[in-house]
């Protein structure tokens, strides 16, 4: 009986460990867990959009005859997660820490940083997870707009950064539209700088 008493908690711990492990394994390679965000105290801005594959494929079906190219982009996407959190004195520090933590995690897991912008008080980081350098598995955009807000975007699936604005437009996600334009602008600036340094 004593043995049984010892075995039961052991089995429970093992089973829960296995369940947690399975849960971690089921997360697609392009998906990132930013953690839970809460609206800022005092009524600041907070937007969270979490679109699953079934909803996105439904949106794709609606436009596949009119705009087959856009439908193809949408069909390649499995999940869109957008978080916009208004910054204030109480949450700024925490969000900066979290951005740093996610950045480190992405780098350790083989994500490639393709765009970095640090201008005035704005910090933009765009990360891409690829398979064999051809297929994009996921995209992460993190923006810390010093005074206004922090933005976290994770798109799981085959999506190129230059298509973010298009995705935001078609799925009616305004923050994604804005972030897409910022990313496009940053990419163009980086390419111009590279070309200039090459000369």
């Amino acid at each position: 009986m004593k043995r049984l008493m010892l075995l039961v908690p052991g089995a429970v711990m093992l089973a829960s460990g296995l369940v947690l492990n399975v849960h971690a394994e089921t997360l697609p390679p392009g998906q990132v867990d930013f953690g839970t965000f809460l609206p800022p105290a005092g009524g600041g801005e907070f937007v969270e959009v979490n679109l699953t594959g079934s909803l996105i494929s439904m949106a794709a079906r609606f436009i596949e005859k009119q705009e087959p190219d856009v439908a193809q982009v949408l069909n390649g996407v499995q999940l869109v997660h957008v978080n916009v959190i208004g910054l204030n004195d109480t949450n700024r520090g925490d969000l900066e820490k979290r951005t740093e933590k996610v950045r480190k995690e992405l780098e350790s897991k083989g994500w490639e940083r393709i765009v970095t912008v640090q201008q005035n008080e704005q910090k933009v980081g765009v990360y891409l997870k690829t398979l064999n350098k051809d297929t994009v598995q996921g995209l992460v955009v993190m923006v810390m707009d010093g005074k206004d807000n922090a933005v976290f975007v994770n798109v799981v699936g085959d999506i190129k950064p230059e298509k973010l604005a298009l995705l935001g437009e078609r799925l009616h996600i305004d923050p994604l539209k804005k972030i897409g334009r910022v990313t496009e602008k940053a990419e163009k600036t980086e390419k111009t700088e590279e070309a200039e340094s090459g000369k």
Binding site: T36, L38, P39, A41, G42, G43, G44, E45, F46, V47, E48, V49, N50, L51, T52, S54, L55, M58, R61, F62, K65, Q66
Partner: protein, 215 residues
């Protein structure tokens, strides 16, 4: 001459039929009452969403209205609409709706600024337990909007969503179930008509060898 043999009736069988009728009548009334009051009762998801907010905000709540049109009513409306001459668009809209419910509530008395984080956490917990996930959450100043959808089993034929809107004083919870196929068919028809009017398609129909051909 002896009369033909008739098996004796089991004792009390007449009474049993009487009991059944006697039980059926009140049961019918009970079902009627449940059916009628059902129009003013919200479903479990909408109720859970409402309760999660009311549990997070102090104050006295008063119901302004709560209406629930389930599958029975929407089926009746659909069947009734077959007898009426309607344009395809409104008919498709009627065909698409499988259930709607709306509840409007008002918070009375002085209320302090609500903790939207706590409200969202509580609502998420209640809805996740039922297999629903938050698709949208927007908070600005005292306004809070959330949209939930089932985690699994979503398709054009079976679309469900639950919405909660709160502005610090008024709360609106609503949920809808529908089949988007009829609406989609109408949209496709319009799209095809539009495409057929496209100059390139007209050209393709008139002369072969052009890149677009009408199927």
């Amino acid at each position: 001459m002896q009369p033909p043999y008739t098996p004796p009736k089991p004792p009390g069988s007449g009474f049993r039929a009487g009991y059944a009728v006697a039980a059926a009548v009140p049961l019918f009334f009970v079902l009627c009452v449940v059916g009628v009051t059902g129009y003013f009762r919200l479903g479990s998801e909408t109720t859970a969403l409402r309760q999660s907010l009311m549990g997070s905000v102090d104050g006295q709540w008063k119901k302004t209205i709560a209406v629930h049109l389930g599958w029975f009513t929407t089926s009746l409306v659909r069947a009734g609409s077959q007898l009426v001459k309607l344009d395809p668009e409104p008919r498709a809209a009627i065909e698409a709706v499988r259930g709607v419910e709306v509840g409007v509530y008002k918070l009375h008395g002085d209320s302090q600024r609500e903790d939207h984080g706590a409200i969202l956490a509580r609502a998420d917990k209640a809805m996740n337990r039922r297999g629903w996930v938050r698709v949208v959450g927007v908070s600005h100043d005292r306004d809070l909007v959330t949209v939930y959808m089932p985690r699994k089993g979503m398709s054009m034929r079976n679309l469900k969503c639950c919405v909660m809107v709160f502005n610090g004083r008024d709360l609106v919870v609503a949920s809808a179930r529908g089949n988007l196929e009829p609406l989609w068919a109408i949209a496709e028809k319009h799209l095809e008509l539009g495409l057929n009017r496209h100059p390139l398609v007209t050209c393709a129909a008139l002369g072969p060898g052009l890149p677009i051909r009408r199927e």
